[in-house]
């Protein structure tokens, strides 16, 4: 079994540099690679482009990188939870590319699977289609969307093994599986890292071939953005 384990987040981030493009899993604050984000802040890598569905909140997730002006460009579908993001975008400090969420996911998946581009009807006739090739299929217009290119993908899983196999939990799965193998180097951080052979092969969501480095995160805050409960009757 090929061992993908690295000892800590610092080793996992070996090779990152200013100006790179990163993919980061997560939806809101759920399933974000907390430890990798903390390391990117610690290293103060700057001028980076981040492909991530959201941009965190002011004081957590990618918001931590925004605070320190480390991000040059965000490629996201929804960025409405972050006042600092809004400020930087309006002042022109931050370049923002908004992408329909299904297209964002599919562009990750295309990169993972070696598909250079694909047609989708989503966005045809809107700003999203500007500068893109279009073509009719079955009487409906579609636009050509490219696979993403990224240097590192940072993903977070619930469990993983030393071979890099991953299992996700609940809706913390989201973009994480789609980003595995979609960048030159995929770094997976997990809550529980076990020896190869301990996970049931039937239950594995992402095979280790899509992961170059794996480590167990030191700690997870797993912050809830909108705690919503109902009363017990």
């Amino acid at each position: 079994m090929i061992n993908k384990t690295v000892t800590n987040v610092s080793d996992a981030c070996e090779g990152i540099s200013n100006g790179m493009t990163f993919m980061l899993g997560g939806f809101g604050l759920s399933g974000i690679p907390e430890n990798a984000i903390a390391e990117l802040v610690r290293r103060n890598v700057t001028g980076v482009t981040c492909i991530s569905n959201n941009a965190g909140v002011d004081d957590f997730g990618l918001g931590l990188l925004l605070q320190k002006h480390q991000i040059k460009k965000m490629i996201s579908s929804y960025v409405g939870e972050n006042a600092e993001f809004e400020r930087q975008m309006l002042s022109g400090e931050l370049d923002v590319e908004l992408i329909p969420q299904g297209t964002l996911a599919q562009r990750c998946l295309a990169a993972q699977r070696g598909i250079p581009a694909f047609y989708t009807p989503a966005g045809y006739g809107t700003e999203v289609a500007e500068g893109k090739e279009s073509r009719e299929f079955n009487g409906k217009m579609h636009i050509l969307e490219n696979a993403f290119k990224a240097d590192f993908a940072f993903v977070k899983a619930w469990k993983g093994d030393t071979a890099g196999n991953l299992i996700f939990k609940g809706t913390a799965r989201n973009f994480n599986p789609n980003m595995c193998g979609a960048a030159t180097i995929t770094v997976a951080e997990v809550e529980n890292l076990v020896p190869a052979g301990e996970l049931d092969p039937n239950q594995i969501h992402i095979p280790g071939i899509f992961v170059q480095r794996i480590f167990q995160g030191e700690r997870y805050e797993k912050r809830i953005e909108q705690r919503t409960v109902r009363a017990k009757n």
């Binding site: 299904g102 989503a122 705690r227």
Partner: protein, 142 residues
């Protein structure tokens, strides 16, 4: 007289029919589930990767790994499934979902929706350009 949020949700709930898979967006749509008749079988889908979404959890039972599109804590009903974002939008774009209920930023009397941004303005953005791919779409003002 304008309708309150609960009244809008109540009205939209009447569009939900037996056997429907229903995608719920952010805002008022999340209230709709409260008003769906209980003599029909419906499964709620959330774009972040759950089919079979249940009500909000009881106090103390919140799970940060279990949220809806509005980042609110939720529960999973028996028979629920979780999946990745590409699969989730595959359900939607592949037209397997019967109905989507969206919160919208701006709606015209013709049913035109400005949903991911109001042209020329940078405001809160919500990209749901797949909406028109669905056979039926009901939108409610946030």
């Amino acid at each position: 007289m304008s309708l309150g949020k609960e009244q809008i949700a109540q009205r939209i709930a009447k569009e939900v029919q037996d056997g429907y898979y229903v995608n719920l967006g952010i805002g008022i749509p999340t209230l709709v589930a409260n008003f769906v008749r209980d003599d029909i079988e419906v499964e709620f889908q959330s774009e972040n990767g759950i089919l079979g979404m249940g009500p909000f959890p009881f106090d103390g039972e919140e799970d940060p790994d279990l949220i809806n599109a509005g980042k609110q804590t939720i529960t999973a009903l028996p028979g629920a499934s979780f999946f990745d974002s590409a699969t989730s939008f595959g359900m939607i774009r592949g037209q397997h979902v019967d109905l989507t209920i969206l919160g919208a930023m701006e709606v015209s009397q013709n049913g035109d929706i400005a949903n991911w941004k109001i042209p020329g303005k940078w405001l809160k953005v919500w990209v749901v350009l797949w909406i028109w791919l669905l056979p039926q779409t009901i939108s409610s003002l946030l």
